[in-house]
Symmetry: C2
Subunit: 233 residues, 2 copies
């Protein structure tokens, strides 16, 4: 693959009403009220995540791998070793590699009285599209900063940027947010009316990520404090 | 698809030394020391998860969807509406639907001095294989119990089992654990020796799921206590 399309935008362009156009692939066959297409919902779910699950086809079979990602406006970036399989595939594919990138947050365990209505509260985003290798040096720099800032916002400015050797070892692919939807389940169990009298406890157990106390590296020099952007987590 | 292979086992058969045989697809091209194939590591990562990311191919493109799953011995089960797309595809496919099922736990944010060495601590399992629709009533019952017990262990015995109408609306697919590997990253950042003197804080921010106080359903009858299996979370 030799052509890397230029990014349409690298800044936020959403307004309150802006959204992604639904397609056959992004309209669910069930629970359509759980689907959202507005930029705010989609982007906030993406920005709250540390990793995505990237799906692609290798030798005719699906592959799903967890990996870091970063968002810049309406574009997602994934990186990896130039020797990694999906990155190699994207680089070789022309005109790009069909992928599906999915991000999911678990928000609660939903315990209904009936086994049938057990569920999870969650927020997810599913992106369908084609990934292209990024070769432009400036776009690669923006993408790599976004990948570090996805781990901790503000961190890219407080670490050593990649040097030439590291850049040469790193492949970056881009996936434009175009065919994308969010799905959100909230609230309590959906038991049938005839089950309300059953003697089982029913409700939701909230789940959320919790941050532990930062563990300094063994060789951290004395006197370097934990930065504010970490304390703010 | 009309043939549902019988489960090879529905009980735990692993011993300390038992494991899954590595294949071309389950040996990583990099960081081979992070790969594990023993039953104990693979099963414990699966059992600690509430959802998986299921990848399959639809109309020639990859699709990755978050969904509940359950484990019984060396078999995973996924369920859904009989009208759901992947379930329909598995039912129609002969001899089954190629899938990749991935489970990932985030354990820490790894902040290196260099942008290049930023990473995540995680535990993941990737299963390659073929999913088959389950039609045997007894295996379907075992699978549905396992799906509920994956949400909260012990819950299937303390809820109303599915009735005939619910069973008719539910499709179950199975995926045998055969071509499967775990990948685990632990520990601190992997900065290069020449970066140790740089003035950036470096270390790991631990991340783990935290459970909130159970929220009873609005129509929960008075006097039904929170069960021990929930308090034990």
């Amino acid at each position: 693959m030799s052509v890397t399309p230029a990014p349409e935008t690298t800044t936020e362009t959403s307004t309150a009403a802006a959204g992604y156009a639904p397609t056959d692939r992004t309209v669910p066959s069930r629970y359509r009220d759980r689907a959202h297409y507005d930029h705010e919902t989609v982007h906030s779910i993406l920005d709250a995540a540390y990793l995505c699950h990237l799906g692609f086809i290798r030798d005719g079979a699906p592959v799903v791998l967890p990996t870091l990602f970063g968002r810049v406006g309406q574009t997602l970036y994934v990186h990896g070793s130039t020797g990694s399989r999906p990155l190699l595939a994207a680089g070789k594919a022309d005109p790009g590699l069909p992928v599906c990138l999915t991000v999911t947050h678990l928000d609660g365990l939903v315990l209904a009285r009936s086994a049938f209505h057990h569920s999870l509260n969650y927020r997810s985003v599913v992106v369908h599209g084609t990934a292209y290798e990024v070769t432009d040096p400036e776009e690669r720099r923006i993408a790599l900063d976004a990948l570090v800032d996805q781990v901790v916002p503000g961190r890219s400015a407080d670490s050593r940027p990649a040097n030439a050797k590291e850049l040469a070892a790193t492949a970056v692919i881009r996936l434009d947010l175009n065919e994308v939807s969010a799905k959100v389940r909230t609230g309590g169990p959906g038991d049938d009316p005839q089950d309300v009298a059953l003697p089982y406890w029913t409700g939701v157990i909230p789940v959320a990520p919790a941050y532990g106390t930062p563990v300094p590296a063994a060789d951290l020099a004395p006197g370097i404090p934990v930065p504010d952007y970490i304390t703010a987590l």
